[in-house]
Structure formats: C-alpha cells, structure tokens
Symmetry: C2
Subunit: 121 residues, 2 copies
C-alpha cells in the first residue's frame, strides 16, 4: 500500500494537458494534470468528472451555464454529457477523478488526445 | 453546477468521525471528515477507500503491513477487505473517496457508526 505525495507527484512531470495516473479504486482513476491555456470543448457521455485544483486557477467554461472558476482547494463535478472546456490562464495543477479509461478529450479527437495514461512513480 | 471550497466546507462542521457528503459522481461519494483520536478497527468488504489528508496528520494502522502515515497533501487507497484503523493524535481534516453508501465503520457496529451522511452546505 503506497501513499502518494501530491507535491512530489506533480514535480515528477511537466507536460501540459497530459494526465498521469496517481491511483485507482472502485473502477475510478485519480489523475493529476498540469494545464495551461485553452483545452478543447468536449464531453464525456458516460462519465461524471471531478476537477479539484491543487494550485493556480482553472476556469471551466460551459455552454449553457456561467463558467465555474476554481482556485486552490476548490472542486466541481461536471456531470456526464455536459460539454465543457477547461481553461487556465497560467499554469495550474489539478486532480481529476473519473472512471478508469476516460479519455481526456472525451468525444473529440484532438492533437492532445491521450489514450494511454502513464502511472506516476 | 456548484463548486465546493474545501476550507469553507471544513469550517461548516466540527463533529469528529462523522463524514459529511461534499459531492457525488459515478456512484462514488466525496466525503469530508474531521478526525481526532483512535477510530475502530474495521474493513469494507465491497469498497476501496481513498484517504487524502487536507490538514494535520493521519495514521492508518494495518494488521499485516506497516502503518501508513499521511500528512497534508498525501493520499492512500485502502483496498476492499483490508482491515484498518485510522488514528489522529491531533485533529486532522481528511477527504474520503468511496462508493456511495459506504458505512464509516464498515463491518463493525460502534457508537460512532453513521448510516446517514449529511450533505454539506
């Protein structure tokens, strides 16, 4: 049973928009990501997705609702089927919680699509 | 879509060993708990359980493995079926991630057993 230290885990990679796997439980994945700039609009038809900000600020843009702006220590759940676009004006570190196998760009194929998620450590 | 601020959420209650519901997704619950002292030895036969420490220190005692000591920003997953006892020498704030309906004392009935989990906010 190995614990994960979030500071060390985030320090272990630098790539933006490329989530790393930090843990798995009950068919769900804990992923860590460094993000900066505008991601692609997308949705996950079969997955609710939790975004928890560890450092920096993340804006989650939504089509039919006001944006949700998260700073360190704040989280939100984007329900399945809801189109969203994560945007970070500066580098932000975020923790994602979602079903194992969830693709970062959801229903969209993009140059930043990642099908393999590298495990941390 | 309501965001949760962890500082505000933890400030909203004071009871020890009584998790509050902060979010739900994919059949899983995000719970927040304030803990202090020794909890009861127990296991969850059908639920892996994630412990993430937000403040303070949490020791997770295990029967057949070394204890896992978590400080702020550290998490561990206790797999289903593994007997464990959370202990906090001083007050600690922790985030739990586990299936909806998971009972805090698992297979054990105790004065601290909580079947209802109050939602935050």
């Amino acid at each position: 049973m190995e614990k994960v230290n979030l500071d060390e885990a985030f320090a272990s990679f630098d790539e933006r928009w490329s989530p790393r796997l930090a843990g798995e439980l009950n068919g769900q994945a804990v992923k860590l990501a460094k993000v900066e700039g505008e991601f692609v609009w997308h949705r996950h038809d079969d997955a609710d997705e939790l975004f928890l900000v560890r450092s920096g600020e993340l804006r989650i843009e939504l089509r039919d609702e006001p944006d949700v702006v998260l700073t360190a220590g704040e989280f939100v759940v984007v329900p399945r089927g809801v189109e969203h676009r994560p945007v970070a004006e500066k580098e932000a570190e975020i923790l994602l919680f979602e079903p194992v196998g969830t693709r970062n760009t959801g229903n969209v194929e993009d140059e930043r699509t990642r099908t393999d998620v590298e495990r941390i450590g």
